[in-house]
Symmetry: none
Subunit: 143 residues, 2 copies
C-alpha cells in the first residue's frame, strides 16, 4: 500500500492533471487528503484508484453529478440494498443508452471511413453522410 504520494505523482499515475485534482477536491469529489509539514497534499493508493475511476467515467461522458452517485455506491457499503439498487439501476439505464448511441456512432464513422477511402473530396461522402441524415438513429438524447 503506497502512501504519502505527492500530487504530481498521483497526477501522472492517474492521468488527471494537478489543477484538476485540486478542483475535484474543491467540489467535494475527492476527499481533502492529509497534508505534510510544509502544507503539501499527501495521497494514498485509494485516492489514486478513485482518481483513475473519475477520469474513466469522465471520458465515458458521465457528468460530475453522475460520478458522485457512482462513488456513493462505493463509499457507503452499509447502505440499504434498495438504495444501492436504485442508484445502480439508474446508472445502468444511462450506460445502456450511451452504449446504443455509441454503437450507432461507430457504425456511422465506419461508413464514413469506408466511403472516404483515399479519394478526393469530390469522391468523399463524409460530409454528405453526416448532413443528409435527416431521421437518424443517433437522435438518442444522452443527457
Amino acid at each position: 500500500m503506497l502512501e504519502d504520494i505527492p500530487i504530481g505523482t498521483v497526477a501522472k499515475a492517474s492521468g488527471v492533471k494537478v489543477p484538476t485534482i485540486r478542483y475535484y477536491e474543491q467540489i467535494g469529489l475527492l476527499p481533502p487528503p492529509p497534508r505534510s509539514e510544509g502544507n503539501r497534499r499527501l495521497y494514498g493508493s485509494g485516492d489514486l484508484r478513485r482518481l483513475s475511476f473519475i477520469r474513466h467515467a469522465r471520458e465515458l461522458g458521465f457528468e460530475i453529478e453522475a460520478i458522485r452517485t457512482l462513488l456513493a455506491l462505493q463509499d457507503r457499503p452499509g447502505q440499504s440494498c434498495a438504495e444501492a439498487d436504485a442508484i445502480a439501476r439508474a446508472r445502468l439505464l444511462e450506460v445502456e443508452n450511451r452504449l446504443n448511441s455509441l454503437n450507432a456512432l461507430k457504425v456511422e464513422l465506419e461508413r464514413m471511413l469506408a466511403e472516404c477511402a483515399h479519394g478526393r473530396i469530390a469522391d468523399c461522402r463524409v460530409i454528405e453522410v453526416l448532413a443528409d441524415h435527416g431521421e437518424c438513429r443517433v437522435h438518442a438524447r444522452n443527457d
Copy 2:
C-alpha cells in the same frame, strides 16, 4: 428548394437550438444569412444541411475546430480527403475505447443488481472496473 426559413423552423428541422444557431453564426461556423424587412434571419436549405452536418459532427464527438476544418475542406472541393479521414479515424478509435469501458461498467452494474435481487448487499466493484485499467494510457490525450 426551400428558402426564407425562419430560425425557429430551421432549429426544429436541424435539431440545433435557436441560441446555438446564433452562437454558431457568431463564431463563424455558419455564414450570416440574409435578413427580412424586420431584421429576421432567413435561412435556406443549404444552411439547414450545414447545421445538420454540424449537429451530427458534434454528436460524433468532433470539436468545433475539427468541424471547421471539415467544412473548410468541403468549401474548397478537389482537395485531399486525408485530413477529414484522419479526424474520423481518430474519433472511431475513441468511440471504440469508450464502448469497451462502458461494456465493462454495464457488466458490473448488472452484477450488483443481480446480487441485490438475491437480498445481498453487493460489494461494489464499480471503481475497480474502471480504475484498474492502466494500460489504456494510449488515448489519454489525443487532441
